[in-house]
Subunit: 369 residues, 2 copies
């Protein structure tokens, strides 16, 4: 087998985003044991920084040992039991995936749909929740990675905060790029992935559970269907007891530790501002080149631009050419917009003026010749 | 938050084992996309090397995006449906965990027990399987990490090969340290973890499914209860179709790629011989110091020595002293032998004469003064 030497890429897809040198180097740190007191101090610090990131005081805040999808599954399997009702906002691939996963937990899924590219109407969600006052969870996707649309959360959270229903939010593509206010917005379970706006390699899923969510899980009639993701056991490893459950992915946790340090050195407000500004610059450049947006105005994510390229017949061929000839990765459309749109990410380390300049330069060359 | 600089350890516990510099460096390789054709070539090579390691031609052989426990869960959730019968050999913590996980899949668990430290009797397993000819799976743990006992597999595999029951083997602590012959022993599902005899950081679970196992999963009446671990979807990412399921943990796969290259440069036979020889040297030294073995003679794992230290009252205090004063990590006892035994690992990179010398020197100093 050959030496490992992949071509360096400018990662402007929907994730992974580019990973900075400090985080890459952190993964080369010698491995120590998952029950070593020194490792416990590192995980304590990681959990502390994740609480800052999620803007929460939730005790149970930790990285799930899997990718963002494992975070989604952890949210579903812990909160749902067979026969429960799950109200789910569906306006893209990740909402559909949530509905599929909830059904695999034996839940009855009540989906509240919206056209792809638009947020799910908060009024429609609240009306549905009034019809299902005993719904166990209500789930929405904060930043729908398949469409580039942002879902407003505050009004829904304020409503759910006064009901027994748990408010579950998919923040895979928003955390670290847009404000996510777990406590202020009364979110009960919120999960993300490391490879988007955090610019840490894929492999961990930060998650947080409110006391209301933990109490609900502790009151289950049945065991959590996943042994691996069962928070009734995981909380004893991530808490002060340090009871062995599974071997934590040490090197990935090193990477997350360093990635979070980088984030707090920049500061959350500055980071959100950077994402908004650089996203805005890309928007101006793309508009100038004849690109149009898939997501509805007012709900577009600066860090994930789902756009129609100006020449519909070269959507896929040009995307591939950008990868092979310019080493720029752009995401393809998923589901109903496969082959029709591009998804251009500007997340974390990728989100800088230089990325925009490199992409626009390549596009000008290819589209105008 | 401080710089990340954990103390370097000699990792002689039950895992993680020490990770070599080539593998540590591989993780610093720049991240590329999980759908990049260059990444597909890397994963193809990883799967090819995993087939060599498992000694199988099984098409569906890949690393699960989680630790060894996620591999266990993947084996259970894919093969079992509610109402199925699972015959499980239980002679330690990991057999108990399998029984727990199978029950969470809605299976009826028929456990065949043996005293901790002994293998489960193959005759007893076969007798039980004759009583349950429609059992969906029969599972045993090849190397019981809680007891240091090795489970013979060949005779059981030969029996199961002529039945509809799937032969599932936990090879978490054996793969790369002891021969694991998936095809020759007619194993249908075999999973492992990266952080034991492969000396890759924790975070991936190599797994392989025989055609008999894949056919059984494809004939399910119900969906796999885990979305994240569902091989009916995962096989489309790890196979030639390359259909997006979840974002693969890129940097961990780089580490596994390099770790497997290191393994095949040494050669499997040489590696097994090294584990046997170095394990034998540790055995002589420990016996000389008055240690006795927990596992039954003839079934002891050279790479994981479960031993009674000579002074029962200092089992835990001396273990902690080895960590803090000598930077040597030794594993504690689990379950019924908690506080009574040590588990001394000699896996992968840790398995060398120098590790034995360092440990024996520390023990001589502490036990004889």
């Amino acid at each position: 087998m050959n030496e490992l030497c992949p071509t360096e890429r400018l990662l402007m897809g929907p994730g992974p985003s580019n990973v900075g040198s400090r985080v890459l180097r952190a993964m080369s740190t010698p491995v120590i044991g998952h029950l070593d007191p020194e490792f416990s101090r590192i995980t304590d610090d990681v959990c502390k920084m994740l609480r800052e990131l999620f803007r929460t005081g939730n005790r149970l805040t930790f990285p799930v040992s899997g990718t963002g999808s494992a975070g989604m599954e952890a949210a579903m399997v812990n909160t749902l039991e067979p026969g429960d009702t799950a109200v789910i906002g569906v306006n893209g691939v990740f909402g559909m995936r949530l509905a599929d996963t909830a059904a695999r937990c034996g839940a009855t899924v009540v989906s509240v749909d919206a056209p792809w590219g638009e947020p799910v109407d908060t009024g429609a969600l609240i009306e549905t929740l009034k019809k299902y006052p005993r719904a166990k969870i209500c789930v929405v996707v904060h930043a729908e990675t398949s469409t580039g649309a942002r879902q407003p959360l505050e009004e829904l959270g304020a409503f759910l905060g006064n009901t027994p229903t748990l408010f579950v939010v998919d923040a895979v593509t928003s955390l670290g790029g847009l404000p996510v206010e777990v406590d202020a917005w009364r979110i009960d379970v919120c999960y993300s992935g490391t490879q988007k706006c955090l610019s840490v390699p894929p492999g961990l899923a930060p998650i947080t559970f409110s006391d209301k969510a933990v109490a609900s899980v502790n009151a289950r009639r049945t065991k959590v269907q996943s042994w691996y993701l069962d928070i009734t056991m995981l909380q004893k490893y991530w808490g002060s007891e340090r009871i062995y459950h599974h071997t934590a992915p040490i090197s990935m946790i090193y990477a997350l530790y360093e990635g979070l340090r980088v984030i707090f050195e920049e500061g959350l407000e500055a980071r959100f501002k950077r994402h908004a500004e650089v996203g805005g610059e890309l928007g101006i450049g793309l508009t100038d080149l004849g690109f149009t947006w898939f997501a509805k105005e007012g709900y577009r994510l600066p860090q994930l631009n789902a756009v129609y390229p100006p020449a519909p017949d070269t959507v896929e061929s040009l995307r591939k050419k950008l990868l092979t000839e310019y080493s720029i990765e752009i995401g393809a459309g998923l589901g109903i917009v496969a082959g029709k749109i591009w998804r251009i990410g500007l997340m974390g380390e990728t989100c800088k003026r230089a990325s925009v300049a490199i992409l626009l330069d390549a596009l000008r060359r290819e589209l105008r010749r």
